[in-house]
């Protein structure tokens, strides 16, 4: 995994004799370095004893790591010398042995399975590149073409996905858990599409997007708490307040560029969270706000068995049997509609002067200024609009959870939303959906694997960054064509 450049050179050295002693020496040295590092990092573990902190030694783990590094390095070295195929078989055999035969220790098993698997993957990669005889650049171009085709295919996939998303709650599959995952995914898709306006279109690396999410959530929670306003009044207000906070942040920050800009937005995200933690009298501090009212059915009816005075019950209004699932389904449709609104907005704005100016700013700020584009206003607009969508998502989050605290708005949330945008391919709407399914959906689906899912998540990120450094679907289509018979469909068709 560490040296993909070796793969291309492999076929040429195949004829040479294999340098066994060199490979062994190299692997031995790597294992020695691993030993030095793992003894303090892995081998010692602090544990809580009644008398205080104690230290526990973990020799098996150290041995396992060192063996992993030794055989891994050896395998890599041999792959580099053209022995990819034998290494592949050996590694697969080792993994199979680890799986099939009951071994005395769990650690040895891990070494065989994980190490064998990784080396086998690497060897298989070397074998295929050797077979395909493509250079790295050719492979990149080929993958770009595939991505472009996938993106063109979204024209047809998107309506199907949309209909599927609409029909999902009506299918017998739709239980509480599935709908909850659906709501979670749609929330992140909406946030990803919102951040895509700033990062993907305007090219401003915003590391504090979660601040606007927090502003939206707390706007609704506090307005409902202190003034008793309903969700449907608060939703636009939360969006406005978030947009306002976006402008407030934007004025001083937009003079900065690149890394400096990113750092200041990161700081802003933390400032918002710290204010929420410390302004105890107003925001409830770390305890958060609980008992946030649930949304009503457009102010007409409530989703409870016994509605409040003067309100109708949803199930009575429609003559249905009462079910707690009704509210979940309503929430699902609500976030679906909100997310689609963001998507429609972005698809349209890209074809308008505002969106084109954002993309121009992303490409070259100096040239944009020379064409009379007011950089500050354009960036502020991007910031405010993205913040507004973040605010909508935030107030939805507040009403869905019924409880919010600063815990929900830490930096890791910003990082995940940004990861979705970057992995999907900056500026690509379909990419955001695919990346959300990968980043949020897969860990949710494999919840049983506990901590290993984060390991897999990290490995997935590395693989994507190696193979598609510009994101999964990074292909960009022009927003206007002079002579192309196939005009891209307008409106919601292409997401």
């Amino acid at each position: 995994m560490t040296m993909p450049s070796h793969a291309a050179g492999a076929p040429h050295v195949a004829a040479k004799a294999v340098d066994w002693s060199g490979s062994l020496r190299d692997a031995g040295f790597a294992a020695f370095v691993a030993l030095l590092l793992t003894v303090p990092l892995v081998g010692l573990r602090t544990i809580d004893r009644p008398t205080g902190l104690g230290i526990e030694a973990r020799p098996e783990e150290v041995v396992a790591s060192v063996l992993l590094v030794f055989f891994g390095r050896l395998g890599l070295g041999l792959i580099g010398q053209g022995l990819a195929l034998p290494v592949l078989f050996l590694a697969l055999a080792a993994a199979a042995v680890g799986l099939a035969i009951p071994l005395p220790t769990q650690v040895l098993r891990l070494v065989l399975v994980a190490g064998g698997g990784i080396i086998a993957l690497r060897a298989a990669f070397a074998v295929t590149t050797h077979r395909s005889k493509l250079t790295l650049a050719e492979r990149d171009r080929k993958m770009d073409r595939v991505a472009a085709q996938v993106q063109h295919a979204t024209k047809y996939i998107a309506p199907v996905a949309f209909i599927g998303a609409v029909l999902l709650p009506m299918t017998p599959l739709a239980d509480r858990q599935l709908l909850d995952i659906g709501i979670l995914l749609l929330t992140y898709i909406m946030l990803g599409w919102g951040l895509n306006i700033v990062v993907g279109l305007a090219g401003l690396l915003d590391l504090g997007y979660v601040a606007f999410y927090a502003v939206g959530a707390y706007s609704y929670a506090l307005l409902a708490h202190y003034f008793g306003l309903s969700f449907w009044v608060c939703l636009p207000l939360a969006g406005l307040l978030a947009a306002f906070s976006g402008v407030l942040l934007g004025f001083p920050v937009l003079r900065l560029r690149g890394d400096y800009f990113a750092i200041v937005t990161l700081g802003f995200g933390e400032i918002v969270r710290i204010i929420l933690v410390n302004w105890y009298q107003f925001t409830g501090g770390p305890n958060g706000i609980s008992g946030i009212p649930r949304p009503s059915f457009f102010g007409l009816a409530e989703f409870s068995r016994t509605p409040a005075e003067g309100m109708a019950a949803f199930h009575e209004l429609f003559g249905l049997e009462f079910s707690p699932l009704h509210r979940i389904v309503f929430m699902y449709y609500l976030i679906l509609a909100l997310a689609l609104a963001v998507n429609l907005f972005t698809l349209r704005i890209r074809k308008l002067p505002l969106g084109r100016a954002w993309e121009a700013l992303r490409e070259d700020e100096i040239a944009s200024a020379s064409l009379g584009i007011n950089r500050t206003n354009m960036k502020l607009a991007a910031f405010a609009i993205a913040a507004m969508f973040g605010g909508f998502a935030g107030s939805f989050f507040a009403t869905r959870q019924g409880f919010i605290s600063p815990e929900s708005f830490t930096f890791i949330e910003s990082a995940i939303i940004l990861a979705i945008v970057v992995l999907g391919g900056m500026g690509s709407q379909a990419g955001v959906v695919v990346a959300t399914l990968l980043v949020i959906g897969l860990p949710e689906a494999f919840r049983e694997l506990a901590d290993y899912r984060m390991l897999a998540f990290g490995m997935g990120m590395v693989v994507i960054m190696l193979w598609r450094p510009r994101g999964l679907l990074a292909h960009r289509d022009p927003t206007i064509l002079l002579h192309g018979g196939k005009k891209p469909a307008t409106g919601g068709a292409a997401r």
Binding site: F345, R348, I349, L352, P353, L354, R356, A357, E359, A360, R362, E363, D364, I366, A367, S368, A369, S370, L371, G372, I373, N374, R375, A381, R476, P478, T479, I480, L481, L482, H483, G484
Partner: protein
């Protein structure tokens, strides 16, 4: 609109007058008391050896720098005057109508050729789209404006012979085509003054021939309202400069050393000295000349 024709205007009042322009960066004086005028319907070339301060002067005119001292006045044919040194950069392009190209090409590489030309008409389209609101609602006023913008883009694509590349990514065009596209993009802002920073750099003779043709076309063409465009040109390719420019200004070490039509500039001794050097010791202060004559034989002995 005034009834005065633009030719009458250019006779008494130039399009751009640069008066006593001085630009200092700390202790470095990039432009020192430079004054000249550029007229509509003329190509004014700005030449000089490397480091003479040509690009700095350009950046002052186009608002990327604010000059330390001096006044830059731009006059439209309807009599409006703009003091460029007091305007922020983007307004100079937006209101005064000054467009520019860059020494190292600055296109929107990830966008298509056509998109580059549409972005150039940003301000016009932004108004037509009601600052994106009417555009989002899909009102017909915006669609009409966009079609108009498309027509202008097509016109310039045709002029710079890039029509067949319209849907290409601008960054994938060959170098010469990128140069031409940058000029087309600047022209799509419908400027009164076009500033070109070394447009022929890196072009082969055929391409610079094409370029000269485009520039003379821009100079001679009239807008529907009878307005002519002035061209301000920095160029090192003397064959291009001497062929197409109507007026040449020569800078050296930040000062203007010559100003006039191409022929008189070509024969100006000050210009020849700046480009080709001068007879040794001719202008040196006596003490340095004396030092040189002493140290030269000493150096020979040492070697």
């Amino acid at each position: 609109m005034s009834a005065v024709t633009s030719t009458a205007m250019t006779d008494d009042k130039p399009l751009l007058s640069v008066e006593h322009l001085t630009m200092r960066f700390g202790g470095l004086v990039a432009n020192n008391d430079v004054s000249f005028v550029a007229r509509a319907g003329e190509i004014t070339a700005l030449i000089g050896p490397n480091g003479a301060g040509k690009t700095t002067l350009f950046n002052c005119v186009t608002g990327f720098y604010t000059p330390t001292v001096g006044r830059l006045t731009l006059r439209h044919s309807d009599g409006k005057e703009f003091l460029l040194e007091r305007m922020p950069g983007y307004r100079i392009a937006q209101q005064a109508g000054v467009a520019r190209t860059f020494q190292n090409i600055r296109l929107f590489g990830g966008m298509s050729v056509l998109e580059n030309l549409i972005v150039a008409q940003h301000n016009k389209l932004m108004r037509a789209s009601g600052f994106a609101i009417a555009g989002l609602l899909g009102l017909p006023t915006y669609r009409a404006a966009e079609n108009e913008a498309l027509e202008l883009a097509k016109y310039w694509l045709d002029r710079v012979k890039l029509t067949e590349f319209a849907d290409w990514e601008a960054g994938n065009l060959p170098y010469g085509a990128q140069r031409r596209l940058e000029i087309a993009r600047a022209m799509c802002t419908e400027p009164v003054l076009l500033c070109l920073d070394e447009p022929a750099a890196g072009l082969n003779p055929r391409e610079s021939g094409d370029l000269a043709e485009i520039l003379t076309f821009i100079r001679d063409a009239r807008n529907p309202n009878g307005r002519q465009t002035g061209v301000l040109l920095i160029e090192h390719d003397m064959s291009v400069v001497m062929r197409i420019s109507d007026h040449v200004v020569v800078l050296d070490y930040g000062r203007k050393i010559s100003d006039g039509d191409p022929n008189s500039v070509k024969n100006d001794p000050a210009v020849i000295r700046a480009y080709l050097g001068e007879d040794e010791d001719a202008d040196l202060p006596p003490e340095i000349a004396a030092d040189l004559s002493v140290s030269a034989p000493a150096a020979q002995k040492g070697a």
